[in-house]
Symmetry: C2
Subunit: 321 residues, 2 copies
């Protein structure tokens, strides 16, 4: 977290407080579960969603402290989906640490995810009006459908950019957009203004996910904290590959038709996708979404929150992990 | 469903309507997910939780139609936990049909459960006040912790009746009690009255789960809809076995210390538990909880809902599947 937000000490302080709320809310009497939850609470991550929630609140007038539990909830919802994602993907590492499923087994991972989900709704019901519940439950429903859609599309060499963006919108951007918008709503902003923020959040979310997918093709393993070509191994054909496939390159097709994707095949696919311009084209689209959101941000009233949002969008574009 | 409630046609009609709400709410555009959800919606089950919710509402004055979505939610929450339970247990059958994990794979099962959970909170946020959300999120949190605790205690021959009841309280009775109480609350009953109902629900829930566990030792496979000795195979030492273990019988100990529980070992354990009086003692405790709840029900104001609740408690005690 710190390295991502290091140029923004004010936000680091707030996120530190949010982390305190998360650790607190993820404390249970049952020993084993408590161990797993505390492991997760300490697992770091960039904290984009709570950051967005706090920035959103910065556009309003309420004290930022009252936003902490809400910011904790959006991060916890994300954590719950990560725990369950790692079951599906049989992922070994996440954020440079062993995944819950890897360390404790799928059984604990299933229930831990469920517990965190439910705990989020408990926190919302205890602290906030129904509005956030409506928005967040809708966003998380979309995440689930998006994940299923993505899983269903594995090893499909005929996927379009349009379908990819639809999945990204559901599995990633919806929750990012909602995090930003409900922060503002909680802080007293008008609904029409929150909708503007949500739109920015969707564009920012698309850019964020595209970059994330690019990092699976060219990231620095020690920084990304997970193996390269991991999506590919699972059969997830993301944007760089979708663009590369548009060239109808026979060698790429041949590589993709291998029975299993061993490490050497993965390396060859990654190299070929790069040669065919897939990574570059994906990066262009990420930049396009970044430009879109920066333009929309520029039209917002000038204030600290606007500056923070602009900073975040730029930071997300240039990240290398 | 029908065979369980067949002597109560009024309740069957209401539950039929509730099922319509469930089918409706479990409709999504994504084809594969829709198939899975509709499969689940049609899967039957006894519908104890929505039944309790409707009976609870019968103590109040609100039109029963307004309770349908709430009754649908309590059944859907239960469904979500079942889908995830079956992942943990690698169960093949549930309600006489293939489990979601068995038919579609663990991946779809994880996300389907998540989707149903979230959808429940979406329905609550759209139709009801925060009260139910608070109560239900707390109940489901308890279910998750209870499931982890149960999983953590597998193959533990030193478990006590007290610990067993603690787990049952969390994983089963909490949601049953909440279903009954929030139905009444929604229909306008006083909070103190709802608390009385919740207490009845806890006792009824304990009886229900004990009987369920007994049925794993002596049920009729064709009626139970799942294999006998299934809990045992997974290492879940339930009440009949816990009582039998109290006798410190060396033969039982020897059987339990087998490396794997093959079918012949399972048969021998079941037989021995019965010989040692474990099943009978468990049945006695179920009867005790049933008597407790019947006594508490008798103290409620006489009305159709009270008669329904009394009928349900008796019916649950004598069920053979």
């Amino acid at each position: 977290m710190n390295s991502f937000w290091q140029e923004n000490p004010r936000m680091i302080n707030h996120l530190f407080e949010v982390n305190g709320v998360i650790k607190n809310q993820m404390t249970v009497k049952q020993e084993k579960m408590n161990e797993i939850l505390q492991d997760l609470a300490k697992s770091g991550g960039k904290k984009i969603r709570p950051g967005l929630c706090l920035i959103g609140a910065g556009f309003g007038s309420k004290s930022i402290e009252s936003i902490y539990p809400l910011a904790a909830v959006v991060e916890m919802l994300h954590l719950a989906t990560l725990v369950h994602d790692d079951i599906i993907d049989d992922a070994v590492h996440r954020r440079g640490m062993l995944t819950t499923q890897q360390k404790y087994g799928k059984d604990y991972a299933v229930y831990t995810g469920d517990y965190i989900f439910t705990k989020c709704f408990e926190i919302l019901a205890q602290n906030y009006e129904l509005h956030h519940m409506r928005e967040l439950s809708r966003a998380v429903s979309r995440v689930c459908v998006g994940e299923i859609e993505q899983f269903d599309a594995r090893f499909n060499a005929h996927d379009s950019v349009k379908k990819y963006l639809k999945i990204v919108g559901a599995k990633t951007s919806a929750l990012l957009a909602t995090s930003l918008a409900i922060g503002a709503y909680e802080a007293g902003c008008q609904e029409s203004f929150c909708k503007k923020l949500a739109k920015i959040g969707l564009h920012l979310g698309n850019a964020f996910q595209i970059i994330d997918d690019i990092l699976d093709y060219q990231g620095d393993v020690s920084r990304v904290g997970k193996t390269l070509g991991n999506d590919l191994k699972q059969g997830y054909y993301t944007l760089p590959l979708i663009y590369a496939l548009k060239t109808k390159d026979p060698y790429l097709k041949q590589l993709l038709s291998c029975e299993t994707y061993e490490d050497d095949v993965i390396q060859k696919i990654i190299k070929r996708v790069d040669e065919l311009g897939g990574i570059q084209q994906a990066a262009e689209l990420a930049k396009k979404y970044t430009r879109k959101s920066l333009k929309e941000i520029a039209a917002l009233p000038a204030c600290q929150a606007r500056a923070d949002l602009e900073w975040l969008v730029k930071k997300l574009l240039e990240r290398d992990h």
